[in-house]
């Protein structure tokens, strides 16, 4: 049996193995792109929208619920006074969130937004949000953070309640935490 014949198939099968290895790592960015395009997961593109010539629909009201949560090991207070509000689709609203760094060191936080139900995630438009960038608070510092949003009037009629949740994560890089003696 000729060795070159074996080598030929060997190279092809190793090629499949290499291809699948590339595929599994390519799956990571593909997965994120897929989730953002389809809105599955409630993962939404966090980008700034403009509020221009949006028609207000006063014929119906949508209930908006705001939820805040803090990831384990994040020594901050994070809350909002507005737990729910009734909104007209197309009208711009402003709510305020409160955060306080309870620890004795400087910490950077990042809020990750999510929308439920997922089919509503395309219709929540924010013109201003603290989730667009990170917040760095000194020890004991507190802050009120505004968020301006409107619900797109194209929101399907079947959706009566939109829940917007913000999970706050510790985004302080590990090196700087170590430098602070944490």
């Amino acid at each position: 049996m000729s060795n070159s014949k074996h080598k030929n198939i060997l190279v092809k099968t190793v090629g499949i193995v290499a291809l699948m290895t590339v595929f599994v790592f390519a799956m990571v960015p593909l997965y994120n792109v897929f989730c953002e395009i389809t809105g599955i997961n409630g993962k939404v593109l966090v980008s700034k929208e403009l509020y221009e010539s949006v028609k207000v629909d006063t014929s119906r009201k949508v209930k908006v619920e705001l939820i805040t949560s803090i990831n384990r090991g994040m020594p901050w207070d994070f809350s909002t006074d507005t737990k729910t509000l009734e909104v007209y689709p197309g009208k711009l609203y402003e709510v305020s969130f409160y955060a306080k760094n309870k620890s004795k060191s400087t910490i950077t936080g990042q809020a990750v937004p999510s929308v439920a139900p997922s089919q509503a995630s395309f219709y929540v438009s924010k013109t201003e949000c603290f989730c667009f960038d990170q917040q760095t608070l000194l020890a004991g510092e507190e802050i009120n953070m505004p968020m301006k949003f409107y619900i797109d009037p194209d929101l399907p009629d079947s959706v009566h309640t939109v829940t917007m949740s913000y999970a706050l994560f510790n985004a302080t890089s590990k090196d700087s935490t170590a430098a602070l003696g944490q």
Binding site: M1, K5, H6, I9, L10, T13, V14, I16, V17, A18, M20, T21, F23, V24, F25, M27, V28, Y31, N32, C35, T38, I40, N41, N71, V112, S118, Q119, A167, F169, N170, A171, K174
Partner: protein, 522 residues
């Protein structure tokens, strides 16, 4: 024979490149792993004999379920099939040996190291925070953020066994494509060879996915990446997608060779050719193809859009079609045959009937609304143990009984082997059947304690498990007894009605080098 000289003693086994020696080592290795994994299962069943905590603290219990699963999947079932492939494929296609014998040796000798790494995690002096305890599916963040230190040994163990499986699979593919006897076209290949070559393609496609998943775990744990950590922009649900993209083809890797085995044994003892050979080949290939398209049915409860749930539900149910084709073909093979019930046939029949039972509970689990109730209950445990124990393991046992006389040249003790069969089939049902009921009533898996109302079912399962475990020691005795002479010499044809090159062209025991001259296949 002139070139039959080879090293003896330990060197023979360390340096051997012979497919039969390597096959035997794989089979013994898998049997040892089967006993270790089985001992862990008995530990689990001892704890679950009564509600409340008796023998193990919850963390140790979790480690037992995790290691039981990992050892049975990667240590027992997969090496057993590679061992059978080594023994049988060269004999069945008329080749002298496997195509890449040195790689064959290497792929076996990786395994003891891989499993030493995994089992070292049980040594409390090395790992005070315990062995892996996150279940064999090692979902993030249980295995990343909250995994014990021993998780890193687990990760390298999985890397090693992945390399071993990939090399074993490549060897099968090269052998089957290049070393078939003249005249043996692809559509004349024995079913075991067909199922294995398809399994080998599944292996080389999904083992890199598993390796990638554990590599991402490793970098998440130690090198500051956040593939699966939401705090850094990753997603733990993505872990489940990647894992099950490997995991679903993996379950077919663990059953397709058993399909091939049944397709040899049933025709032999029915004294009829296999019904619908071509449809068997196409059914196996379509099962393998479909296995890449259904992974998310393992994760209906993560919260998926209805369209996704519908797609994965329907795609999963479609797999029942080619599987049904295979089962009806086996039944049609037996139809009007002159059937005799030698031990291999008994195990093959039990395989067909009980695998179908596990398949039917699988179709129930495929229904999304139903699955949301059954998810993570003992019903799931009953389902996959019905397809794995009476499926993969009975298939392997049937193969060993069927080919053992050809391998050793001796007949095994028929009476004892029938006792082994009846003990196994009765106790496998006592063990796993009650789990359907406790699962439907809401008993959760992977929990060391349970509600009083499940006590009866669990006691039955535990009694059955001990019977089942100890019956397998009888199997070991029968095999050793057969190697040492058994019940006298086997004929070259072994079974009345046995077909295939290994029975028609080779003496019993089969010579060290199978075919020095390729046989002519008409």
């Amino acid at each position: 024979m002139a070139h039959d000289h080879h090293p003896t003693g330990i060197k023979r086994w360390l340096f051997t490149t012979n497919h039969k020696d390597i096959g035997s080592m794989y089979l013994w290795f898998s049997f040892i792993m089967f006993l270790i994994g089985g001992a862990m299962a008995l530990g689990i069943r001892t704890e679950l004999f009564q509600p409340g905590l008796q023998f193990f603290d919850p963390n140790t219990f979790n480690s037992l379920t995790t290691l039981h699963g990992l050892i049975m999947v990667f240590g027992a079932v997969m090496p057993a099939f590679v061992g059978l492939a080594n023994w049988l494929i060269p004999m069945q296609i008329g080749a002298p040996d496997m195509a890449l014998p040195r790689m064959n040796n290497f792929s076996f000798w990786i395994l003891p190291f891989a499993f030493t790494l995994l089992l070292l995690s049980l040594v409390p002096q090395l790992f005070p925070d315990g062995a892996p305890n996150f279940g064999w599916t090692f979902y993030a963040p249980l295995s990343t953020k909250y995994g014990p230190a021993s998780t890193d040994f687990f990760i390298f163990g999985v890397h090693l066994m992945g390399i071993s499986s990939i090399m074993g699979a490549i060897n099968v593919i090269v052998t089957v494509f290049n070393m078939r006897a003249p005249g043996m076209t692809l559509m004349k290949m024995p079913m075991f060879v067909w199922t294995w070559v398809i399994t080998a393609f599944l292996l080389i496609m999904v083992m890199p996915v598993l390796a990638g998943a554990v590599t991402m775990m490793l970098t998440d744990r130690h090198f500051g990446t956040s593939f699966f950590d939401a705090a850094g922009g990753g997603d733990p649900v993505m872990f489940q997608h990647i894992f099950w993209f490997f995991g679903h083809p993996e379950v077919y890797i663990m059953i397709l060779p058993a399909f091939g085995i049944a397709s040899h044994i049933i025709p032999t003892f029915s004294r009829k050719p296999l019904f619908g050979y071509a449809s068997m080949v196409y059914a196996t290939a379509s099962i393998a193809f479909l296995s890449f398209l259904v992974w998310a049915h393992h994760m209906f409860t993560v919260g998926m859009p209805v369209a996704g749930e519908l797609y994965f539900m329907i795609a999963t149910m479609i797999i029942a079609v080619p599987t049904g084709v295979k089962i009806f073909n086996w039944v049609a093979t037996m139809w009007k045959g002159s059937i005799t019930f030698e031990t291999p046939m008994l195990f093959a029949l039990a395989f067909v009937i009980l695998f179908t039972l596990g398949g039917v509970s699988g179709v129930m689990l495929a229904m999304t609304p139903v699955d949301k109730q059954y998810h993570d209950t003992y019903f799931v445990v009953a389902h996959f143990h019905y397809v794995l124990f009476p499926g993969a393991i009975f298939g392997t046992i049937a193969a060993v009984y069927y080919w053992l006389p050809k391998w050793t040249g001796n007949m095994f003790n028929e009476t004892l082997s029938k006792i082994h069969f009846w003990l196994s089939i009765i106790s496998v049902n006592i063990t796993f059947f009650p789990m359907h009921f406790s699962g439907l009533a809401g008993m959760q898996r992977r929990v060391p304690d349970y509600n009083m109302m499940f006590e009866g079912f669990n006691q039955l399962s535990s009694i059955g498990a001990f019977m089942l475990g100890f019956s397998q020691l009888l199997f070991m005795y029968i095999v050793i007894n057969c190697i040492r002479g058994g019940q006298g010499k086997a004929t070259d044809n072994v079974w009345d009605g046995a077909e295939g090159l290994e029975f028609t062209h080779l003496p019993s025991p089969a010579p060290y080098h199978s075919f020095e001259k390729a046989p002519e296949v008409k």
